[in-house]
Symmetry: C2
Amino acid sequence: MTRLVMKFGGTSVADMERIARVARLVAAEKAAGHEVAVVVSAMAGRTNELVAWTDAAGRAAPGLEPSDDEYDLVVASGEQVTAGLLAMTLRHMGHRARSWLGWQIPILTDDAHGRARIDDIPAEALGAAVDGGEIAVIAGFQGVTHGGRITTLGRGGSDTSAVAIAAALQAIRCDIYTDVDGVYTTDPRIEQRARRLARISYEEMLEMASLGAKVLQTRSVELAMAKGVAVRVLSSFTEPGEAGSDTGTIVCDEEEIVEKRIVSGVTYSRDEAKITVLGLPDRPGVSSKLFSSLADANVNVDMIVQSRARTSDTANMTFTVGKRDAVRAMELIRAIQADVGFEDAQVDEDVAKVSVIGVGMRSHTGVAKTMFGALADRGVNIQVISTSEIKISVLIESAYTELAVRALHAAYGLDQVG
Amino acid sequence: MTRLVMKFGGTSVADMERIARVARLVAAEKAAGHEVAVVVSAMAGRTNELVAWTDAAGRAAPGLEPSDDEYDLVVASGEQVTAGLLAMTLRHMGHRARSWLGWQIPILTDDAHGRARIDDIPAEALGAAVDGGEIAVIAGFQGVTHGGRITTLGRGGSDTSAVAIAAALQAIRCDIYTDVDGVYTTDPRIEQRARRLARISYEEMLEMASLGAKVLQTRSVELAMAKGVAVRVLSSFTEPGEAGSDTGTIVCDEEEIVEKRIVSGVTYSRDEAKITVLGLPDRPGVSSKLFSSLADANVNVDMIVQSRARTSDTANMTFTVGKRDAVRAMELIRAIQADVGFEDAQVDEDVAKVSVIGVGMRSHTGVAKTMFGALADRGVNIQVISTSEIKISVLIESAYTELAVRALHAAYGLDQVG
């Protein structure tokens, strides 16, 4: 017998009808011979309702003792409800099942309420229960401190719960059921010829997640990579039997992927804004001052490029920040204008970041050349470039997003990926 | 410093505005020099919503493993949410506060899910927290088994939580805030001259609770009596300052009530149905067969009277059952008609039970005489009578209920009670 972890998100358990469908999917895996642990999110909309109440209760009021611990207690109740309802539904279908809350397993975390990290999962009792044939229904998103207070793992934390449980149970795989049936070479809403990938490496998945493909939470992929947990992404909107072992996308070690590709996917994001600081004096410490002021205010800076200005003794600095941070970033920059002595600062929110990702870039040359050539052929102007070992990102005018995505998808032959 | 327990029901915490008012009432007691522990129910309507989901999940499906443990897990989430929100609100007002769930204190119970009984409350940590000046906000209605599973104490169980916490903390008093401002000599909607009682004994309160005055849950009064916890019933719909120590009704030992009354209150209930079995053979074992069949089906029988029938060798038996059990009771009785050999059975739902209650009956005679006289004067016909040491109940035609209540209220001089 092998242990399997299945995870269902909020839309998959949004009402009793969908919970019943989830129960059928779980029962099918049990019937197929697995020992099953299921991780569930709160019913869709529930968490937002609970968060709204905590806002009304003054959770985020300035100058007062923060209530992140009480926030966690309140919002964790959402997953608690789903876990109980799914366990009941499974029993109603004649199966043995029981719910497990974070503190009951326990899923031990640090004290960072609202964004806690899992320290340890002593899974003896849980493991014994599933080995005894009982389906374990686990409330996702939540843990407990060593001092016995409820914590939550941050938005999307149920993915992380599922991977951590899979690691603790030494499960053969962690199946993440969601509203898409796998990871695609690009967004099928933009490129109809986008193809589902049978397998993708952890590294590629991490880049995809951080670059805008909202399939898996980044931390859950990091954890899966660190613990060597094979993750499968697949749709919960299928009936049992339709979800054979060949469906979905397996996220795994690069070595386990037989068919080698240079580029695995094209992603895009419109969540960034471009800031340009003009006429920066060309002396040491200027860049440091600029980026320190942003870092101190927790504003994340992504792409950065520095260029010489028309006058010989100054430089221009262009970089991107999250769109929601753009206004604050501009305020911070203007606050140090007199001190730093630059000429002007401008913000442009009309930009998009398009990226190509692939572990094959490590061993293959010419990837950048293909990218820039394909974009130039279509008349797409590149404003900023950034790269990592396995991805190249370009910032372009937002209106060209779809055109650029389609051009790159074709340029790397992704239409033919199996 | 003295410890005080305050309890607020579902209507008192129905929305964020009311939770803020509760926080002000709590803060006022803290400012008055008490160490405060607060017990809260789920927001009004919340428990019903959760229960409806568990019904849809097949909780009560016949022939399957019961899911009472999962039911408890789901419904206990309601109190969890309120506790977190109230703790946050108190912090927002500048107080030190934290929530405590049943398993965190812990409130240890037996395994009787859905109607668990409290075994023990090791209150060292809780006591230390309130002694340190922190307001403890406790989720009512819930406990935890010795094996670490969540339990609930049954409907109205938050009253029991509050009294048990007060006993464990050796609090000077347990204040139960509700939507009425105390215990009245009778229902003020029927008799405008009904007066709030400053004090009432545990025994009288128990009779009142079981006879239809829905102020306190019966079990909480039993527990208060057993543990010697002084309970005060008062309204949460007042602002701090209005609720002085002279408001509400104190439920306490008979010895602590200076002013002695013979009768403390008049109650009524329309929740019963009268069943009459005619022409029962006059031989041993017949009554036993009749009432055994009802008891085996968990039908509670209340008042019973047997009378000789017109024919010399048979008897008639009249008794009352809860109105919701009336149909089933009649089915059970008809099922044994051939075996027992009675002539006919009739049900009458058009009845009411009116009762007078007072510990003074123990030492004073003539209470029954006054009751029957007052009813006779008004032309109210008594169908069945039952008595205990401190109460007399009569079953009458439902249409006479208000008339009878007013007549008895006047007959015992309750209009003059201070």
